[in-house]
């Protein structure tokens, strides 16, 4: 049986890669995919901790994270489509209308 700490280490690496994706990419779609990467890394750590403690509650929490992720993707992609309809461009650096 692989120790749970290996899973948590893998989860930390995947989460960091998601953070890096959010920071270095300019396409909002890729930024969204990186956010999904981070949510999945957190899910992996939750399942590993839940199995370590011998309860199903970690898995229940993962279930809720999945629901929130699904809702977040649907609303986020709708916002991106709405922005694209208005501006015909999709670079996050150009969406600086609110900058003071």
């Amino acid at each position: 049986m692989v120790p749970e700490s290996y899973y948590v280490a893998l989860s930390a690496i995947l989460f960091s890669m998601g953070v890096l994706g959010v920071l270095i990419r300019r396409d909002p779609l890729v930024i969204f995919m990186s956010i999904e990467l981070m949510l999945n890394a957190a899910n992996l750590a939750l399942v590993a901790f839940g199995q370590r403690h011998g309860t199903a509650e970690g898995q229940a929490l993962v279930f809720f994270v999945m629901c929130v992720a699904a809702a977040e993707v649907a609303v986020g992609l709708a916002i991106i489509v709405a922005i694209f309809r208005q501006r015909r461009r999709l670079s996050v650096d150009e969406l600086s209308t609110l900058r003071g």
Partner: protein, 163 residues
């Protein structure tokens, strides 16, 4: 045997995440993301969370990845990442920042010890998860349905509006 499985899956997960970060074409990124979600599902299987592995494939690989591909088809992006980068300094700075973040996580994990001995893992079938969801977590479970309804209504309001 289980170690070999874990390391193969971990290499696949990290490699597909790197592909998502490095490829310029977002459709390649979406396919790499689907591979990554699949390997996470396989890792759930190795942790004996069978029901979550099935849900992961259905919800993430089946719904979310397809939604991303649809959005890419509708938007036809691809020109965003070419041309001069207005924030080049900040982007280069982000790499050492993430490295420091990962080092901090490693230090915290290295110093922490999980209390108590390892307990036998729970069976990850639908019965164990369902028992928890419909007893202790019944209220959050019902709130989830409100969240999904709000998401549906919000998406319809956002996309049906005249631009």
């Amino acid at each position: 045997m289980s170690f070999v499985t874990f390391f193969v899956l971990a290499a696949l997960a990290i490699g597909s995440a790197a592909g998502l970060l490095l490829r310029r074409n977002p459709i390649h990124g979406a396919l790499f993301l689907a591979v990554n979600l699949g390997t996470i599902a396989a890792l759930f299987l190795t942790l004996r969370a069978e029901f979550l592995a099935a849900v992961q494939v259905i919800v993430y690989a089946g719904a979310i990845a397809v939604l991303f591909v649809f959005a890419i088809m509708v938007l036809i992006p691809g020109k965003e990442e070419t041309g001069p980068d207005p924030l080049r300094g900040q982007r280069l700075l982000s790499i050492p920042v993430v490295a420091v973040f990962l080092a901090l996580v490693a230090i915290v994990m290295g110093s922490a010890t999980l209390a108590g001995g390892a307990r036998p893992p729970v069976p990850g079938g639908a019965d164990a998860l369902g028992r928890v969801l419909f007893t202790d977590y019944l209220f959050p479970f019902e709130v989830t349905s409100v969240l999904l309804l709000a998401a549906i209504v919000g998406v319809m309001a956002l996309t049906k509006r005249k631009a």
